[in-house]
């Protein structure tokens, strides 16, 4: 009986004997992104015709989703200094862009971002767990709804330049006010700031 149960469990887990076709291959499931809705609400009430800066790995579905809400989208896939952007944006969706920069570059980058946003403009950023070290793949964040985001690994593994404690994140966004911080079970953190 117990052996039979163990076999069934083994099969369910897809053990060595299981054929490769048994493992479901598809897009990763969407997970909760509790700060996306408050971020969008903030962005939409800052200006009558809100505009949004999009960073990180390009995802066309996000452009369609956000554009359909009436937001003017500006896509900045490459890590250009934000000083180069025109100002007057209502918000910036950074995803995990900052965690890909060296800490000193991140400080300059956030200062430039502050100039690009209007008063009250919001920023949503993701940071990996505090003790994340070594290599990691970049992620493409695909918005499924106002509360759900699927995170898809993209490209080859690259070293993570540094990890941030919560207080270091708050210090990094010195020109901003912290609105909300959410820590996922995985240790990933979502932070929502707005320009003071």
């Amino acid at each position: 009986m117990a052996a039979g149960l163990a076999t069934r469990m083994f099969r369910r887990e897809g053990g060595a004997g299981a054929p490769a076709t048994d493992t479901p291959k598809g897009p990763p499931p969407a997970v909760a992104c509790p700060l996306l809705r408050p971020f969008l609400k903030r962005v939409e009430r800052v200006q009558p015709s809100p505009s949004l800066l999009l960073f990180g790995e390009m995802c066309g579905a996000n452009v369609s989703f956000l554009g359909a809400r009436g937001l003017r989208i500006s896509v900045e896939g490459s890590p250009v200094e934000p000083q180069a952007y025109s100002s007057g944006f209502s918000g910036a969706l950074l995803w995990d862009h900052l965690s890909r920069l060296r800490p000193e570059a991140a400080v300059r980058w956030v200062a430039g971002l502050s100039d690009a946003l209007v008063q009250g403009g919001a920023v949503l950023a993701f940071f990996p767990p505090v003790n994340a070290t070594g290599d990691a793949t970049r992620s493409r964040f695909r918005i499924s709804s106002e509360e759900l985001v699927a995170r898809e690994p993209v490209g080859e593994r690259a070293p993570v330049p540094g990890s941030y404690q919560n207080r270091e994140i708050i210090r990094l966004f010195g020109a901003f006010n912290l609105d909300l911080l959410h820590t996922h079970r995985s240790g990933d953190r979502e932070v929502l700031f707005f320009k003071a």
Binding site: S49, M58, G60, S64, G67, R72, I73, V75, G77, S78
Partner: protein, 189 residues
């Protein structure tokens, strides 16, 4: 009725019956894109093609669909028609069309009345102004996207929404006040 079935049976081939129903494949391969010469346009399909060896500098306008496989610099204006920038196409121009599909490379702003589509091999540097936008994963895009057809109209709609919400709020408040006054009066009685 029975005779009909018998007739059908007669038409069946005399070989062994197939094990499972199968879909017959046609003996020809249908072509999805009709072959078009660089200089001519098909009057029936109303589509033109700028071939790989062509380089046009200036303004391209017309009243039929267009596929760009070569190079265009300047301006493309196809008001009610579709344009496709093929994989080999290189366009450095402002584009105005009904629908724009980018498979190759475009530098310049796109203004579409219906939709803009960027394939996974497509590269676009410029702004998009269209009510519908589809960007495939892997596509390269840098610029702004504005999907609101008429921003002033959208703002007026937002204004109306706000006013309606405010009116509903005041109405609810007044109703609550009336109810509380009524309760107080009833308690006095």
């Amino acid at each position: 009725m029975w005779d009909k079935k018998e007739n059908e049976k007669d038409f069946k081939p005399s070989g062994p019956p197939p094990a499972a129903p199968r879909v017959e494949t046609p003996s020809y391969v249908p072509m999805s894109v009709p072959p078009l010469s660089a200089s001519s346009s098909s009057a029936k399909g109303r589509a033109a093609n700028i071939g790989t060896s062509l380089f046009i500098k200036g303004e391209v306008s017309g009243s039929e669909d267009l596929t760009v496989e070569g190079r265009v610099e300047g301006r493309i204006d196809l008001k009610d028609h579709n344009i496709t920038i093929a994989a080999s196409g290189r366009v450095n121009a402002e584009i105005h069309a009904k629908s724009v599909t980018v498979v190759g490379e475009v530098t310049g702003n796109i203004n579409a009345d219906d939709k803009v589509e960027i394939a996974d091999t497509g590269r676009l540097t410029g702004d998009i102004h269209a009510p519908r936008v589809a960007i495939s994963d892997g596509a390269q895009f840098r610029g702004n996207v504005d999907m609101v057809r008429d921003r002033s109209a959208a703002q007026s709609v937002a204004g109306i929404k706000e006013r309606v919400q405010a009116q509903v709020q005041t109405h609810t408040q007044s109703q609550t006040q009336t109810a509380s006054q009524g309760k107080a009066a009833a308690a006095q009685i």
